[in-house]
Structure formats: C-alpha cells, structure tokens
C-alpha cells in the first residue's frame, strides 16, 4: 500500500473504522506526514462533534464514582523522546532469566547481545519501556526455548551485500522470531517490513530498521495459518500490503 493509499485512510481512521494492524500502520505513516497530521487533527475534531451530538447525561452518581476511582489510580508519566535507535534491552537478565534449548549455532550466529525488538516504535517512558522489554524478552525466550522450535537459516538481499538471517518458529507458542546480524542499509525513507505468508497473502508482521546490527525481532502477531515469512522494502512507517517484490521468503520449517 502506497503513501497515497494510506492517505485515503484518514477518514476511516478518524471514524475509528480501521482494525488494529491498519491503525498502527496509519499512525506510523502519520508520524512522517505533516499534511496528513493536519487533516487528521481536523477530522478527529469533526468526529468529536459527532460524539457531542450523541451526548447522554450520565447518572448523577457516576461523577462521584469516577472521582473516587481516580483518587486511587496512579497517573502514567509522559512519553519522553529518546534518541533513536533504542538502546539494547538488558542482556544479563535475558541470559539469567531464560534457559535456551535453542541450537547453539543460532546463538553463535546472532548472539543475544542485540535484543532490540522495538527499534521502530516511538520512545516511551522508561518505566513502560522496561516493562515492554521484559514482556518481549520473555516472549522471545519462550519461542527460542520451545521444545518444538524450528530454525531455518536463509540469506537476505543480493549477492555481495546480502546477509544471513535465521527464522525460529514454534507452533506451540504460535509465534516466530527473526534474527539477523543486520540488514543492508536502505535509502532514506525506506524500511524493511516483515510479513507472514498466509498461502500467498501477506500479513504485516513488523518492521526492521535497516543497517542496525544484531537484531532479534519477535514477529508481530500469531503465526496462525502462515507457512512462512517474507521481507520487503517499504516506505518508512511500513505498508498495509507489500508494495515491492520480496527480497526474501523463508518457510517456517525446512521441507
């Protein structure tokens, strides 16, 4: 899906009519598109007017109930913009906290020194970041150490500048992890995007920063019906559907 296609989703976005994956893709696009941001702000203000037109006076008791509840709820700190790329997650905790039954070759190929699954998300507050890091680390560990974990090694990119990548999947966990020592640099405004291959239909599975070293990425979403994974080059922020031919296709298990 091109930027122009994404642009057409501004109305559906402001009406809350995108599903979650599309909403994330659109918001990623929004971060890089100033003209979209203005239009979306106006559209959101417009849909707020639609909500006002549906106003219903709440029961009188509700105000006291809500005020009583908020008195006991801690407020989240603001988001803080951190310099990108994001620092690697705490490695020592990964090593201590999980026993990897994974083949040593994978560990040797990519190491665990660069667990950086959140390269592309906006920096958030440190507290939440740490929680996310722990949750993602635990999920990655669960896949890598699952008894039915399958590893497939493939190459990505053209001859000369290509690189290797390892795809580890676990049907019992229904998740997959993509490991690479680093994908080749891309022109500004481009990113790598991962896809689940659902019998030829590509389902978005997250973004990979070009050029970043030693990446261990938990594919977004369940494996579900997918038989493998593809990688394409997309505009920054990603696309809803592949807009270029895949630079690599990898099955979840060697056939």
């Amino acid at each position: 899906m091109t930027a122009a296609d994404l642009h057409m989703l501004a109305g559906a976005y402001a009406l809350g009519a995108l599903d979650e994956d599309e909403r994330h893709a659109f918001e990623a696009h929004l971060a890089d598109c100033e003209s979209c941001a203005v239009e979306v702000a106006e559209f959101l203000a417009t849909s707020a007017r639609l909500a006002f037109a549906a106003s219903q006076p709440p029961p009188a008791a509700m105000k006291q109930q809500v005020l009583a509840r908020i008195a006991e709820v801690r407020q989240e700190p603001p988001k803080v913009e951190l310099p990108a790329p994001r620092p690697p997650a705490p490695v020592s905790r990964v090593r201590r906290g999980a026993r990897f039954a994974l083949a040593a070759s994978i560990a040797a190929a990519v190491g665990l020194g660069g667990v950086a699954a959140w390269q592309y998300e906006r920096a958030q507050d440190a507290h939440q970041q740490a929680q996310q890091a722990q949750a993602q680390t635990a999920e990655i560990a669960a896949v890598l150490s699952a008894p039915d974990a399958h590893a497939v090694v493939g190459s990505v990119g053209g001859a000369g500048q290509g690189t290797s990548a390892t795809l580890v999947s676990s049907r019992s966990q229904n998740r997959a992890v993509f490991l690479t020592p680093g994908l080749p640099q891309l022109p500004t405004g481009k990113t790598y995007q991962l896809w689940f291959n659902d019998a030829g239909v590509m389902r978005p599975a997250g973004l990979v920063a070009p050029g970043a070293a030693d990446q261990t990425i938990l594919l977004k979403g369940p494996i579900g019906p997918a038989s493998g994974m593809g990688i394409t080059v997309e505009p920054s922020g990603g696309s809803l559907h592949p807009t270029t031919a895949p630079i690599a296709l990898m099955p979840f298990a060697a056939t």
């Binding site: 109305g11 959101l44 707020a48 037109a53 106003s55 809500v66 988001k79």
Partner: protein
C-alpha cells in the same frame, strides 16, 4: 434535562453556549493539561465537559446501558491515567478524549461480536440509522441540530459510511460489505464525508 452540563462545545474553538459559560481559563485543553499534573479538581471540571459525550458515543456503539456506563467510567479513568500523553496540537482535548471513548467502545463490541459476526451485520442493516435517534432525542439542542443538518447534507453513501463507522462502530471493511460497495469506495466516502462535515461544522483543528 442535562443536569450540571450547562455548555456544549464542539472542537473547543467554537463554543455553543446553552447556559452559563464556563469560567475563564477552564477550557478543556487547559483543564486536561492541569489533569496531567495530577490536579483532581481540574479533572472534576473536565468531567463536566466530557462525561456526557463520552457516555453518548459509548452508548451509541454498545447500546446496552449498564455496559455503556461501565465502559464510560473506564474511559474517564483512562483519561486521568494517561493525561500526560495528550498533545494539544493533535485535534484538541475533546477529540483526544472522544477518540479514546470510541476506541474502547469498539474494542468491547469487537471482542464480543467475533462469534456472531454475520448475524450482527444482518441485524445492523435492519436497525434505524443512529443519527435519526440522535436527532429525535435532542431536536432542541443546537449542537445536535447542527450536526444533524450537516449529516443530512451528505450524500447517502457518505452519510451511511460515516454513521455506520462512527455511531455503530463498524470497520470500513464491514461497512463495505454491508453496503455492498468496494473497499476503496468506502474509504473515499468516509474521507469525503468528513471533509464535508468539517466544513459544514466550521471545524478547525
């Protein structure tokens, strides 16, 4: 008829005073910025601005009164909890709050409806469009009158697309299926419809 809610505001830039104007310095955007700093009094004042439209849009999507009230309360607590994430440059405080409200209502519907998707859609087709109920219940309210007039000025497909998505909580894919038109058409009608609504309502971000 609406208790303590003496004013209705649209996007914050064009207030429609139906009673006593709020005290100076008490606009929703400023209140929300105060709330972000932990000001519970500011939250109580903000509540008076947002509780009715929050409950209204949640109820429009969910229909069930008890469940709607529960979700509306969760939304209001979420506003308190996440106030620091509000950015004034992205459509204003009311838009921010009501986006959360709509999303939470839709989340609730979508988690409940997965099993009975088809029946749900069939039932939706037979329901009276929500804006009719909206307008019937509130003909006297200037804001609702205004919105209703603007909705009526849309083409039928623009109006159905906007109403089914926003007031009923359908995705654009569901709207396309329901109206039996291509996805691209629905996307375009939603965008065109909002452009017309924006201009008709005089919204500026």
């Amino acid at each position: 008829m609406d208790g303590p809610h003496s004013t209705r505001r649209g996007d914050g830039s064009e207030p429609t005073f139906l009673g006593t104007p709020p005290a100076p310095g008490q606009r929703p955007d400023e209140l929300l910025l105060q709330v972000a700093k932990g000001d519970q009094d500011a939250f109580a004042a903000l509540y008076d601005h947002i509780a009715a439209p929050v409950l209204g849009i949640v109820r429009s999507v969910l229909r069930d009164p008890a469940q709607s009230e529960e979700v509306a309360q969760e939304v209001l607590v979420e506003v308190w909890r996440t106030a620091a994430r509000f950015r004034p440059d992205k459509g204003g405080a009311l838009a921010w709050v009501l986006t959360i409200a709509h999303r939470r209502a839709v989340d609730r519907v979508r988690s409940a409806q997965a099993a009975t998707d088809r029946e749900h859609k069939a039932a939706l087709l037979e329901q009276t469009p929500a804006y009719d109920e909206v307008s019937e219940a509130v003909d006297r309210r200037l804001e609702r009158e205004h919105v209703r007039r603007c909705l009526q000025a849309l083409t039928q497909m623009q109006r159905e697309s906007v109403v089914l998505a926003y007031y009923r909580g359908l995705t654009y894919r569901e709207v396309a299926e329901l109206l039996a038109v291509p996805l691209g058409t629905v996307k375009a009608r939603m965008r065109d419809g909002l452009i017309r609504m924006r201009d008709c309502l005089g919204v500026t971000a």
